[in-house]
């Protein structure tokens, strides 16, 4: 799985969890750029991602994720 495929899936998850159809993520997107992505919804997103990809993030790893690119790379390294 490459980064674009991952982004595609992430887009779907974000739109579904945040209930907003207009979200399009890029590698450089951060929580600031997405309306509704905040401390209240962050874990809902992570949890959904974990279930979709069948992976698990330890908390300290989540803290280190600074943007969507980081997230994609973390997912890829765990799924491959």
């Amino acid at each position: 799985m490459d980064i674009n495929e991952t982004l595609e899936i992430l887009n779907r998850i974000f739109r579904q969890v945040l209930k907003k159809t207009e979200i399009t993520l890029s590698e450089n997107t951060t929580a600031h750029d997405v309306d509704g992505w905040n401390s209240l919804t962050n874990m809902l997103l992570i949890s959904e991602i974990e279930q979709t990809f069948q992976i698990h993030f330890p908390f300290r790893e989540i803290v280190k994720l600074k943007n969507v690119g980081d997230l994609c790379r973390a997912i890829i390294s765990k799924t491959n």
Binding site: S39, L40, N42, M43, L44, I62, V63, K64
Partner: protein
């Protein structure tokens, strides 16, 4: 030592002059010694406690880095240090009830620097920041006098790099600092301190106040608290700017918030973001399998903890609980609010939502301000429009003269904050011709000198 005491003014001027007359490392010494005097001036024990906690944190940070490469459990070090800090804090909080000795004082600033220590250790533990090796730098991070008493609670990544590259402020930064101090003094001396004695009287003797007076006191208290605490913060940030240091903002026009959720992103930001990062996020991580329920549980635990941070007693638990429950409620009713907003138009909705948020916060503050749970319950049960004699008594005994002065100051601060959201008014002043500029300065100085209430040196958040 309080910011508006003559002792502090002397110490501050002395420190400011010395800081600029020395160079290099001696500047750190100047700041460190001043902070020591500031903390230990009335009770040397306070300095001793602050120093011990700082040293404990400093060594724990170094130890964390030392054991990490050897793959030993950093967890043990981290949790032991954390337990020590929390135990110490809880111990002092409950000292009076534990020992029955009412003369035991809660060390000044303990809640604030304990939280700062926890922030530092957690960041080191998460490998977000390296442990600080230079002891004087670390002590300054913990004890810097401008933020020692009531915050802002600084993060290591914000403050430590500035301390390392300590240098005097530019001319603009210094004058900006002075302006912020003036704003803080207006908030504190003209608004908060004129309201305080009258609101205190109602809350001290809830049983003798009429229902209408209770309503009035409850409605005014958020304003007093905001003017007091944000006034303090402005003075702290302004003082730091005179030394070229930038402290974190603590308030972002909280009363414009349309929801309590939003309110807590604007009110006491350094504390609310602290509990978010170091308590709420770890909690949601643990409960993430539960989805929305997990978030709700985490929110409620977090806000109850935030309540307890302010003091011992069920009233503080309830204060936090109200915030938590309202935020959970708001999480699940976003669509309803959107529908209403569409129906009645967003300007009207914005106003009504801001009023609603204010009222909820004012209500929760009854628990925060009341002496105990019984008083709070009595207070709420007796809120009514009934008066003892006539409607005049809702002025809570504030004289008409003070009502006008405070009212005008409040209006000015309101306008100031409204425009600050769009453009930096303080910078705009600098672009005006000298006559206009100096007239504004003289008017402000005159307002503070003539109408400030200089009697009290106390700030509300000193007790926490």
């Amino acid at each position: 030592m309080s910011f508006i005491s003559p002792e502090f003014i002397c110490l501050f001027i002395f420190c400011f002059l010395l800081y600029h007359l020395t160079r290099g490392k001696s500047r750190k010494t100047v700041l460190l010694v001043t902070s020591g005097v500031f903390i230990g001036y009335f009770h040397w024990e306070f300095l001793l406690i602050a120093l011990s906690i700082s040293l404990l944190t400093y060594n724990a940070g170094l130890l964390l880095e030392k054991v990490r490469p050897k793959n030993k459990s950093t967890q043990t070090v981290y949790w032991t240090a954390l337990a020590c800090l929390l135990l110490c804090w809880t111990g002092f909080r409950h000292a009076e009830s534990l020992t029955g000795n009412a003369s035991l004082l809660f060390p000044l600033g303990l809640s604030f620097y304990t939280f700062q220590a926890i922030a530092y250790l957690t960041e080191v533990y998460w490998e977000e920041t390296p442990a600080e090796r230079n002891l004087p730098d670390f002590l300054l991070y913990m004890l810097l006098f401008m933020k020692f008493l009531s915050g802002p609670i600084e993060r290591p990544n914000d403050l430590l790099p500035q301390i390392k590259k300590l240098h005097p402020a530019s001319y603009d930064m210094m004058t900006y600092g002075l302006k912020l101090i003036a704003i803080g003094l207006i908030k504190k001396l003209i608004i908060a301190d004129h309201l305080a004695p009258h609101i205190d009287e109602i809350f001290q003797a809830v049983h003798t106040a009429s229902g209408a007076q209770l309503i009035m006191a409850a409605l005014l208290y958020p304003i007093e608290l905001y003017a007091d605490f944000s006034g303090y913060t402005d003075i702290a940030i302004g003082c730091a700017m005179l030394f070229g240091l930038r402290l974190s903002p603590n308030f972002e026009r909280p009363f414009t918030a349309q929801t309590i959720t939003d309110f807590w992103r604007r009110w006491h930001i350094s504390l609310s973001s602290w509990v978010r990062d170091y308590l709420y996020l770890p909690l949601t991580s643990v409960t993430r399998r539960l989805g929305q329920t997990g978030i709700a549980i985490s929110l409620i635990i977090t806000f109850v903890a935030l309540g307890i941070w302010h003091g011992v007693g069920w009233n503080f638990v309830i204060y936090g609980l109200i915030q938590g429950i309202v935020i959970v409620w708001e999480q699940n009713t976003t669509s309803i609010r959107k529908t209403i907003s569409r129906r009645i138009g967003s300007p009207l909705y914005g106003l009504l939502a801001a009023i609603r948020t204010y009222l909820i916060f004012a209500f929760s503050l009854i628990f925060f301000k009341a002496k105990n749970m019984d008083d709070a319950v009595y207070f709420i049960r007796h809120l009514s429009f009934q008066t003892h004699s006539n409607w005049k008594e809702i002025d809570l005994g504030i004289s008409d003269h003070i009502c006008i002065v405070t009212g005008i100051a409040l209006l000015l601060i309101g306008i100031y904050e409204y425009f600050m959201a769009r453009t930096d008014l303080l910078r705009q002043i600098e672009k005006q011709p000298a006559v206009v500029r100096w007239s504004i300065y003289y008017l402000t100085a005159f307002l503070i000198l003539a109408y400030g209430q200089f009697g009290s040196e106390n700030f509300i958040y000193l007790q926490f």
